[in-house]
Structure formats: structure tokens, C-alpha cells
């Protein structure tokens, strides 16, 4: 798969990403793009490299090869880009800190140490901006509460507010709703959709529910063995295509099960 389908307007372009852990190749020339105003979902079996690809984009892993370009700026391997934010399945707020302080932390990359050595040093304008971000996710009234006291869905929205406070143009989400109940999932997915529609963010989300992916995204990317299997408009992805992604994993499971029953035969 070469980059021939990449659109010129893409905000995030990932091209030829490779990553191996020891002998094991996890990303095998992964190429995709996400445009401003677009929500793209990534589907794939466990271990297909979804998390690793997002972690490479935000600099938490250093890719062995490939380029990452955001808005025309090429990222340095293994380094964070101010324009790319990420939310996680496990949310990763600091539970003992207030909701507002957690959101302010999204701005650390552009604050000098004199204005960020402690939450007490955060400038007033930053706190006002963080309040606006909290208002955007509908949680301005919870600003002074400890983050750990909020429900899972609310915490995930605080994490999104932290990403907004980073002033990111690209928002990556690694299984943002896998730990949430259906109502909270719905709320978070609606929020991601609206960030793309109304604020022009480029959103890429790893999801495990094909149904959510179809309803909330414009395009669905299918990953297997660290490279793209399909990249299609959400409406065109049917259940068979999705099931195909999980088939190799399922076959491996069945083979193992068969081997075990044979032992007892």
C-alpha cells in the first residue's frame, strides 16, 4: 500500500510506519491519513498494532522507519508533537488533583518552568482557557472536584478537555470507550464527533465495537499484522469485512483448542 490515496488536505499523514519489538514486527509499513473535520476509526484484533501505531505518532514509542507529518510539519521520531493529543482507555488523569488542574496540565508543553513548577504557578489566562475547554465537554461545574471522584465517562471527557487545552489539531483515542458503559460511550463518541464537525479536529479512534465505528466515523481502517487491510467509508464496511479482521486470531484460538482436545482423546 503506497500513499497514493492520501489526500492533499490531510492534517495527519502517517507513511510507511515500521516498528519491531525484538524479533517481532508489530508495524509493517502502516500508512494512513486523517483530515481536519474527519473521524477515522481503527479496527483490528488484539495485537494487530493499533496502540503501537498511535503511540508512535505521539512519540511514546520510537518507530524504526516511516514519517509522521502534521499540518506540513514532520515529527521527530520518539518525540511528542504539540499539535497531537491523545486520550487513553485507562484515561490517565491524576486522580488526586482537581479536574481543572488536570486540564491545565495539557498546556505544560508551552509553559516555562516558572509558570508551571506547581499548580499554584499556573497563570490566570491558562486557567480561564482550561475552564473554556471544560465547558466544551460539559463539565465546567465540576472544575474544583478531585478528578478521581468523577465517573469513568466524565473522566474521559476531562481527558478530552486536557487534549483541547493542549490546542491540538489531531486527537488520537486508544479505545476511549472500552471501559465505559453504553450511555457514557455514547456521550464520549458524540463529543469526538462534534470536535471534528464543529472544531475541525482530525480524530482517529481505536474502537472495538464495529457498530460504534460505523455510526460515528467517516472512514474505517482495518488493521491486521501491523498493516492496513482496508480503508473504506464507514457505510461500506459490512460485518463480513470486520469479521475477516478477527478471523486469523479466531483460527489460532480454534487450533489451540483442537490441539488440547486431541490430548485427551
Amino acid at each position: 500500500m503506497r500513499a497514493d490515496h492520501l489526500s492533499a488536505a490531510a492534517t495527519l499523514r502517517v507513511d510507511g510506519l515500521r516498528k519491531a519489538f525484538g524479533e517481532k514486527t508489530v508495524l509493517d509499513g502502516l500508512t494512513f491519513d486523517v483530515s481536519s473535520g474527519e473521524v477515522v476509526s481503527l479496527l483490528g484484533a488484539n495485537g494487530s498494532g493499533k496502540s503501537t501505531s498511535l503511540r508512535c505518532v505521539v512519540g511514546l514509542e520510537r518507530p524504526d522507519a516511516g514519517t509522521i507529518v502534521v499540518d506540513g510539519v514532520t515529527g521527530k521520531p520518539g518525540e511528542a508533537m504539540p499539535t497531537v493529543a491523545m486520550v487513553f482507555q485507562k484515561i490517565h488523569l491524576v486522580p488526586r488533583r482537581s479536574v481543572l488542574d488536570n486540564v491545565c496540565a495539557g498546556a505544560l508543553g508551552r509553559l516555562g518552568l516558572s509558570r508551571s513548577w506547581s499548580v499554584l504557578a499556573f497563570p490566570r489566562e491558562l486557567q480561564e482557557e482550561a475552564m473554556a475547554c471544560l465547558d466544551r465537554v460539559g463539565l465546567a461545574d465540576r472544575a474544583r472536584e478531585k478528578a478521581g471522584r468523577l465517573s469513568g465517562g466524565q473522566q474521559q471527557r476531562v481527558a478530552v478537555a486536557r487534549a483541547l487545552c493542549q490546542r491540538a489539531k489531531v486527537l488520537l483515542a486508544d479505545e476511549p470507550v472500552s471501559a465505559l458503559d453504553p450511555a457514557a460511550s455514547e456521550q464520549v463518541m458524540n463529543l469526538l464527533r462534534s470536535l471534528a464537525d464543529d472544531d475541525g479536529l482530525a480524530v482517529a479512534a481505536v474502537l472495538h465495537q464495529p457498530d460504534l465505528a460505523r455510526r460515528f466515523s467517516d472512514r474505517i481502517l482495518g488493521l491486521a499484522g501491523g498493516s492496513l487491510v482496508f480503508d473504506s467509508p464507514a457505510a461500506e464496511v459490512d460485518d463480513d469485512t470486520v469479521a475477516g479482521l478477527y478471523r486469523p486470531a479466531l483460527e489460532a484460538l480454534e487450533a489451540a483448542e483442537a490441539a488440547r482436545t486431541k490430548e485427551f482423546a
Binding site: V58, G59, L60, A80, P82, V84, A85, M86, F88, K90, I91, H92, L93, V94, R96, R97, D101, A105, G106, A107, L108, G109, R110, L111, L113, S116, W117, S118, V119, A159, R162, Q166, F264
Partner: protein, 289 residues
């Protein structure tokens, strides 16, 4: 039906293999030899213990000495205790307080340096390997020197008193608490750290906004634990001349006032128990167990 599907019985592999038994016997024999040698080198034997018993009895309960001229005097033992208020107990209480102040200052003064060392010696907050290694190496060296040796050095430099005790405790505590703190930072949940790294936070910023808030209760707990330990150490430092109740225990022993000494020892017991209970209570209060 369940019987029909039950898998056939299998031979159970032996719990101990012959090679394992041989290794076990060799280790046991080796340990016995090492301990026997250590006992010879240190004159540890039941005979020594029985012969020492007489001296211990005299130390505890006194001794009647008869001089060649027929006069007999009674050398006081540790019991009964010396319970004079203004000569013994009141000064003893003051010495105990001094011991607490030495432990307190020794602990508190070490906080800034311990925090610095903890941050550069934890993988979570410092990924620059040379600095990480340097931090750990310096702490190992500082920790290898016992507090008593520091105290002797500072007494040589500034003379007897509580101050050399404070400095000795502070330096040793920088290394011990720095290590304990860095280990608890190592164990912190990496999630929030990664989240802030994605937002572009520097290592110092991640330390301040992700690591420290998460580990604060355990750092406080370790601090209180070290305060407790440092008060104990300060008793020992006193016996080499670095102030507090330990200094007076040593003085009374040297002048054969075993009853006064034993009173001070009892006060130390109470002091240590009180500090221990207090520190445990405060640790529970801050939620650090």
C-alpha cells in the same frame, strides 16, 4: 457421564529431583560450616554466656566489695532505679526532648536533597542514563557510611554536641530516604506520566504534575518512618558524643552510676514506643499505611 469424559490418570512428577536434593544438602552443610567459623571467631559459646552471667548479675543488682583492710562498700547496680526528680528524671526528660529535636532536624534538613536525588534516581522522572547512574552511585556511597561514623567525623570537626548529630543524621538520611523515595516513584502508575509526556511536558514538569501528586502519601509515610528511625539512631549517636539522652547514658555508665543509666534506658524505651505509635498514627492519617 462425568466419569465417562474424565481424562485418564497421569503419573505425578516427583516433587524433588535427586540433583535438587544434592544442592539442598550442600547448601545446608555450607551454612553450618560458616556459622561454626563465625562462632569461633567471636568467642560465642555457652561457656562464655554462663561466665558472663555473674558480671551481668552484679551490673543489674550491685556488688559488695571487700577491701583488704576489712571495709566493705556496696557498689550500686542498675536496680533499684534512680528516681530522683531534679537530679535525674527532669534532666532525663530534657535529654529525651533533645534527642527528638536531633531526629526531627536530621530528617527535615535532608528533605530537599533527598527529593532531588529521588527525582534523578527514578526511571519515571529521569531517563537520562548517566545522571541516573550518578545519582544512584552517590547515594550508595553516602549510605555505605554508617551514621555513627559521620557523627564521629563531625564531632572531630566541630566538637561534642547535638549539632554534629543533626548533620550526621541529615547526610545519611539524604541517601536512605532518597533511595526509598525513588523506589516509590519507580512504582508509580506510568499512565499519567505518559499522558503528560504526550502533552509535551518536560521531565521536571512530569515529576511535578504526575509523579509527585501520585506518590505524595507514600513519600510522607516514608518520611514519618525515617523520622521514627532517626530518633532511634540519634540515641546511638549520643553514645559517641553527639548529644541527647544517649550521651548521658554513656556518661553515667562511664562513672559507674548504673542506676541512673538504667533510668535513662527506661526513658528511652518509653520514648521509642511513643515516637513509634505517633509515627504510625500519623501515617494512617495521611493514608500511607
Amino acid at each position: 457421564m462425568s466419569i465417562a469424559t474424565r481424562p485418564p490418570e497421569q503419573a505425578v512428577p516427583p516433587r524433588f529431583r535427586p540433583s535438587g536434593i544434592a544442592v539442598g544438602v550442600a547448601i545446608t552443610l555450607g551454612l553450618i560450616i560458616v556459622h561454626w567459623y563465625a562462632a569461633v571467631q567471636t568467642n560465642t559459646s555457652p561457656k562464655e554466656l554462663i561466665e558472663g552471667w555473674r558480671g551481668l548479675w552484679n551490673f543489674l543488682f550491685g556488688l559488695d566489695k571487700t577491701f583488704p583492710n576489712g571495709k566493705t562498700i556496696h557498689q550500686d547496680g542498675a536496680f533499684p532505679l534512680d528516681l530522683r526528680w531534679s537530679e535525674t528524671i527532669r534532666p532525663g526528660l530534657e535529654y529525651c526532648l533533645l534527642t527528638i529535636w536531633i531526629g526531627l532536624l536530621g530528617t527535615t534538613l535532608s528533605i530537599p536533597a533527598a527529593l532531588l536525588f529521588a527525582i534523578i534516581s527514578s526511571r519515571t522522572t529521569n531517563r537520562f542514563v548517566p545522571l541516573w547512574l550518578a545519582g544512584r552511585a552517590v547515594m550508595s556511597v553516602l549510605r555505605a557510611i554508617p551514621e555513627t561514623v559521620y557523627a564521629l567525623m563531625f564531632i572531630a570537626a566541630v566538637g561534642f554536641g547535638a549539632f554534629p548529630g543533626v548533620i550526621a543524621l541529615a547526610i545519611h538520611n539524604v541517601a536512605v530516604m532518597g533511595k526509598l523515595w525513588s523506589e516509590s516513584m519507580d512504582e508509580v502508575d506510568q499512565g499519567p506520566v505518559e499522558a503528560l509526556r504526550v502533552a509535551g511536558a518536560s521531565p521536571v514538569q512530569t515529576a511535578a504534575h504526575a509523579v509527585l501528586p501520585a506518590v505524595m502519601p507514600s513519600l510522607l509515610g516514608l518520611l514519618l518512618y525515617r523520622f521514627d528511625t532517626n530518633v532511634r539512631s540519634s540515641v546511638i549517636l549520643g553514645t559517641v558524643g553527639a548529644g541527647g539522652i544517649g550521651f548521658f547514658i554513656k556518661t553515667e555508665v562511664d562513672s559507674f552510676h548504673f542506676d541512673t543509666m538504667m533510668t535513662y534506658v527506661c526513658m528511652v524505651i518509653v520514648l521509642i514506643i511513643v515516637i513509634d505509635l505517633f509515627s504510625a498514627w500519623l501515617r494512617r492519617k495521611v493514608g500511607a499505611v
